[in-house]
């Protein structure tokens, strides 16, 4: 077959699949978001954004992402560097650290609920140690800070590993000789990390951050398990519109808003971490 058209023929099946099961439903959702039954309108967007819960859920979602993602990034970098330096047992450590990846987000939320709830480990331990005289309900409206902390912890515990595996793979791609050259020319381990690892890891950092940030805006099950209605987030509102209020148009509108935020951040990350032409490995 003609070498020019062969590549297109080869990607045809997957393109068709994506059009059928992704693009088409997406268009339907978009249509739904921009109509209330009678032609094009922005009413759905107006409705959802003027609702009192919208600014709170927006703020909560962004705040959570802002708190969780940087910590995860730092942790993942630290863990990836440690794993890459290991000579023995490296695979075992990596398996153990990535166990949370195999647990669904709802299950992860429930695990942390078991820790924080009134009859949970934390309360048992605290009353056992005499810190409190009787178990307290930590995840209540009286302790919004603890609710936030519990959700953030669960997210960090659950989803740091996805960044970790991407960064470990990325660090593995950096040739050893660059570290040796840096070492000979006087760079300390910290300087080597700053001047060699970080810049050469940019493509992996891009992937890891984009993936993580998008997932952070889609946070739902962990929040539902730990915060319930105490901590509204955008994805939770989408769910509520669709299934509690049976308002498909409004749900579609929020979904599109989340999409827009995700695209915005993706472009920002790609731009900030871009590799100049001619500067790749």
């Amino acid at each position: 077959m003609n070498a020019r058209i062969l590549p297109y023929v080869l990607i045809l099946p997957v393109t068709l699949f994506l059009c059928l099961f992704f693009l088409y439903p997406f268009i339907l959702v978009a249509q739904q978001a921009f109509s209330t039954g009678s032609g094009f309108t922005l009413d759905n967007f107006r409705d959802v954004t003027s609702h009192w819960k919208f600014p709170i859920s927006m703020k909560n979602t962004l705040l959570l992402a802002a708190a969780v993602v940087p910590i995860q990034l730092a942790l993942a970098l630290l863990m990836a560097t440690m794993v890459s330096r290991m000579e023995k047992g490296r695979d075992l450590v990596l398996y153990i650290w990535t166990i949370p990846l195999g647990i669904s987000d709802l299950a992860a939320g429930l695990i942390w609920l078991a820790i924080f709830e009134q009859s949970g480990f934390l309360n048992t331990m605290m009353s056992g140690l005499g810190v409190v005289d009787k178990p307290v309900n930590l995840l209540s409206y009286q302790h919004p800070g603890i609710v936030f902390l519990a959700i953030a912890l669960a997210e960090i515990w659950r989803a740091t590993a996805i960044m970790l595996v991407i960064l470990v793979a990325g660090i593995g791609l950096i040739p050893k000789e660059y570290y040796e050259a840096a070492e000979v020319f006087g760079a300390s381990p910290w300087k080597r990390f700053l001047r060699i690892t970080l810049p050469m890891l940019r493509p992996s950092l891009q992937t890891a951050l984009v993936l993580r940030v998008i997932l952070a805006f889609e946070i739902f099950a962990v929040v539902a398990a730990l915060g319930g209605t105490l901590f509204p987030v955008l994805m939770g509102e989408t769910y509520a519109y669709q299934f509690d209020l049976l308002n498909g148009g409004a749900a579609a509108a929020i979904a599109l808003i989340i999409l827009a935020i995700s695209i915005g951040f993706t472009l920002l990350i790609l731009r900030l971490l871009r590799v100049p032409k001619g500067a790749s490995i």
Binding site: P175, E177, Y178, E180, A181, A182, E183, V184, F185, G186, A187, K191, R195, I196, P199, M200, R202, V275, P276, K277, G278, A279, S280, I281
Partner: protein, 346 residues
Amino acid sequence: MAEIQIKNVAKTFGTYQALHDINLTIADQEFMVLLGASGCGKTTLLRIVAGLETATTGEIWIGGRRVDHLAPKDRGIAMVFQNYAVFPHMTVFENIGFGLRMQKLANDEVKRRVERTATLMHIEQLLNRYSGELSGGQRQRVAVARALAMEPDVILMDEPLSNLDALLRMEMRAELKGVLAESKTTAIYVTHDQVEAMSMADRISVMHQGKIVQAASPIEVYRNPAAEFVAGFIGNPPMNFLSATPAGNGKWTVAGETLDGPNATAPLQFAIRPEDMQLADTGLKATAKVVEPLGAHLLVTCDVNGTMIRAILDSDHKVKPGDVLTLAPQPDRVRWFDPQTTLAVA
């Protein structure tokens, strides 16, 4: 003062012994060339001196200080890597200035040194490029410039000119030699190009299978090879060998001819360089097989009693394949080797 002493250094990778008991002293400001075939352990030895590899046994001393336990950056060295290791995410300027920045030199000093070494390496017009936009030879020169910019006491260079074209290489050789002599730098220079070794070295260390076979001045290595390996490795074409049997009283029978030689009773190898034989009335009977005109000379490959040898003759001689030549070895250029030990016999 930066004398380098390598004392009893050996290195094993798993079960493979890459270096055997290396002893070598490189005087302050000396230009030492490590010469040897691929895989003989040149890079390994250089990396041990640099501190990127630890010797299994032995000691490294630089400038009277034992350095084996020191990190590379504390040894007062700079290095040109065989695979360049030019940082791809930095421009040429940042690459050359990397070590200077690590030393926290002032900006204008960094700029001055970077520009000076870049000019020396003829890459001053590339300073703003990334290494992905450079050719192999340009990248190699960045690696050399980066090491020179450090103005180190000791510079370790692993085949730093291997990727340049013949003309540029010749020019760079001279410049490099000049710069290092001027800056009083002690240099270890790895190459497997013997012309480069001959033309640059104060001394050459010939390595073979993880051992140093001979460390001497270029002319000594050429004229008086310490072992058969050196004789067969140095020179283009290398030395010729013929087996010799003792005929008593310092006389030897070589391909039916009787020649003067050392007093010994066991058979030896007779050795002579191709250019040290002349056409004469008496001498070795050789049948010309291949005749290659090289301009000023003829390179004649011929058969002496079933052994192939090469002779370099003046191109005035008319020689064609099939001719029987009589080649007289120049007596003071004849060398003898013990086939048992492969070492030279006086």
